[in-house]
């Protein structure tokens, strides 16, 4: 993971910054130059809530190499109250307890490590509400 590629996504991944269309109010992560709903090009930066609903999920048993030590893990699509949906791991939960529609919250976690020498990549995962 080259640092520049990682660093430019930090606002979204670290603190759930989203871009809200100033004209129609649609909210986007990541940022966009043009609203796909109304075509406007001006956005305000907002922070997404940290409570989400699980839309669908799977348990990944054969991950990419950088996730092998975490396998098997749950991966889910969650919906934020602002309407945005994102894909991330669902952790700290027994797989049997996963249920479509359940409430989860966002937690800051280490997502990837680039070997022994590379940078550490952080971002969001979903966890049970506490």
């Amino acid at each position: 993971m080259f640092p520049a590629r990682y660093a430019r996504e930090m606002p979204h991944r670290y603190r759930l910054e989203a871009h809200k269309c100033k004209q129609c109010g649609k909210v986007f992560v990541p940022r966009r130059e043009i609203c796909d709903k109304c075509g406007a090009t001006e956005f305000e930066v907002i922070r997404l809530s940290d409570r989400v609903k699980l839309v669908t999920y799977t348990i990944i048993h054969t991950p990419a190499s950088q996730f092998k030590d975490q396998s098997p893990y749950a991966l889910g699509i969650c919906e934020f109250p602002e309407g945005v949906r994102l894909t991330a791991q669902v952790v700290d939960i027994d797989f049997a307890d996963l249920k479509t529609g359940m409430d989860l919250q966002v937690e800051f976690r280490r997502i990837q490590t680039d070997g022994h020498e590379g940078i550490l990549s952080y971002g969001y995962k979903f966890v049970p509400v506490i």
């Binding site: 930090m10 670290y14 603190r15 922070r47 030590d69 975490q70 791991q89 952790v91 700290d92 937690e107 800051f108 976690r109 280490r110 997502i111 022994h116 550490l120 952080y122 995962k125 049970p128 506490i130």
Partner: protein
Amino acid sequence: MEGIVGYGAHIPRHRIKVEEIAKVWGADAPSYKRGLQLREKSVPPPDVDTITLSVEAAKRALKRAGVDGAQLGAVYIGSESHPYAVKPSGTVVAEALGAVPDCHCADYEFACKAGSEAMFVAMGLVKAGYIDYGLAIGGDTSQGAPSDALEYSASAGAAAFIMGRENLVAEIEYSNSYMTDTPDFWRREHEFYPQHAGRYTGEPAYFKHVTGAAKALLKKAGAEPGDFQYCVFHQPNGKFPMRAAKMLGFTKEQNLTGWLAPTLGNTYSGASPIGLTAILDVAKPGDRIFMVSYGSGSGSDGFIWKCADRLAEVQNLVATTRTLLDERLTYVDYGTYAKYRRKILKNY
């Protein structure tokens, strides 16, 4: 007036029992449990490190403080397990909290005292009027070599405090620091695990500094142990803080609320700070708290806190430390623990 305006802790949900570790090394679990007064400890999964623990603890502290990340003038993290050898943990945490760019940031290291060190400095800057709010965090994913006595206690957790001048939940009355060069515990560069000097870590190290700092602080405050509702000491295991409290004239009851080691383990830089959060969760306005940390090498920081009215309003705004410590736990076996802690050699 200066003090704490918000506080929060974070503890991973995974635990390993003393018996599970003892079984692997052929050690006698009952004697460890009795001798060290430890039953189990927290275990960080592979996606949790000092930075992630710090962010989650700090998010709770900000909520209790009612302060936005952008208002922080300083972000200080004390730890002996900073994920990078070179590159601050604090910048990641500050970025995640939205504290960048107008913020002073530093990582502290002083064995297990690094957390209270961060608190000491953040409080100092607030008192000096340099900053309005300072975030101080003590947290670790502690290292302990396989089969070493430390493996039974080295655990993970963090506590965060927002220091400020207004809307306090606890006012700082007095603080002090006490230190000498005492080589009781160390880790050389590029080594995975710390080394320690066995029984030399006791009387000449932990007890000398903890009681030294405590006595000096009591004298400075003109106070007696009986003047406090609560006390909390660094807790490398369950036994040491109880003994230190007794030596100083504190009762078991005063010490019990912040005494988390038996089920949390030793969170190193997080130890007495997390203990303090557990006390703040239940203390009443007007209660006074006596706190002394300890870091090998060696030194202790002492603090006397007096709880303010606003404390009652914020205690249940977010998960309490006891909730994090006691609820929805996942017990892991030694194999899983070894995998999580990267103790399995893969030769790459």
